[in-house]
Symmetry: C2
Subunit: 180 residues, 2 copies
């Protein structure tokens, strides 16, 4: 549904190959719309056939040739059309929540350890986000246009992680005092 559009957004900012896009997805837009290289290659081909992007084969020395994609006028129209259309709300699908809900049907201590582990992973992700914020947006008050919008999305990630961490702490405390 919308991987196409996430790619259009990313390619409009800068042209690139499938491989390169896959890496961009790992570091920025993919925090909010994850995709593997396989998916990206397949969708790029479809978009190419639909005329939303065009590609140029670029020969390289010492490494494989690549196809650099860029957004066509049709692609820009499609992106504008999509931007004006309503989006479905994001759905959560959280296995950890299911586990917590079922904790008393198994080893509660193991579930608690899982919560602690997830807390750690999310804390690390939050640090990544904060690093990006410090590096790329040191003065948020002065932002506008594309940079402002990138910053706002990052803020969403930061807020989501902060709230997840706070939740983990609440859960950890409650499960610990229940056990003792």
């Amino acid at each position: 549904m919308a991987l196409e559009h996430a790619i259009l957004v990313s390619l409009t900012e800068r042209a690139g190959s499938g491989y390169e896009l896959a890496h961009r997805f790992d570091r920025s837009i993919g925090f909010f719309w994850p995709a593997t290289h396989q998916q990206i290659y397949r969708v790029l081909r479809r978009m190419d056939e639909a005329g939303w992007v065009t590609h140029t084969e670029v020969a390289q020395e010492g490494r494989p040739d690549k196809k650099v994609y860029q957004v066509s006028a049709t692609g820009r129209d499609e992106l504008a059309r999509w931007l004006a259309e309503p989006v479905d709300p994001a759905v959560l699908r959280d296995g950890l929540a299911v586990k917590i809900r079922g904790a008393s049907l198994g080893d509660t201590a193991a579930v608690l350890r899982e919560v602690v582990r997830h807390r750690g992973e999310h804390a690390a992700l939050l640090e990544v986000y904060r690093g990006i914020q410090r590096r790329d947006f040191p003065k948020p008050a002065k932002l506008s246009g594309r940079e402002l919008h990138q910053y706002l999305v990052l803020r969403g990630g930061i807020r989501a992680e902060e709230s997840f961490l706070a939740w983990c702490d609440e859960v950890i405390e409650a499960l610990r005092s229940e056990q003792s």
Copy 2:
């Protein structure tokens, strides 16, 4: 991967038919692990073949017969096994974030309207969560066991929605002042 286990958790709490489960999913566990009736029917059949659940056909008057499923010993073992095993972290996939990031490539005002609309939907969901909290968990300090765990998961939903709303407000304010 884990719909099976979400169903096991729900069925352990109370036996039920596929139809009934689908409704439970719409109102409780499905907030964190959404599923359609189709998926539930298919997975229930698979679980039945695997021996994790058993079913009893119940004839009814004035309405179709139903199959009431309940968790078998094997199913309880499987659930305990899964509870002790690590879960993958939840992935976000948020079309709204992609839109905000691409806002300057289309109609920013339309994107802003979308953010406002999502804010409304999430505010409504938050009210649903708070209603459940008031009704089912008026005295959270006294909870333990299954009820405590249900409460904690609900807390996660409340926190996530609160933080989403705060983000929407930040985005709305920033986009509005950018436009004027």
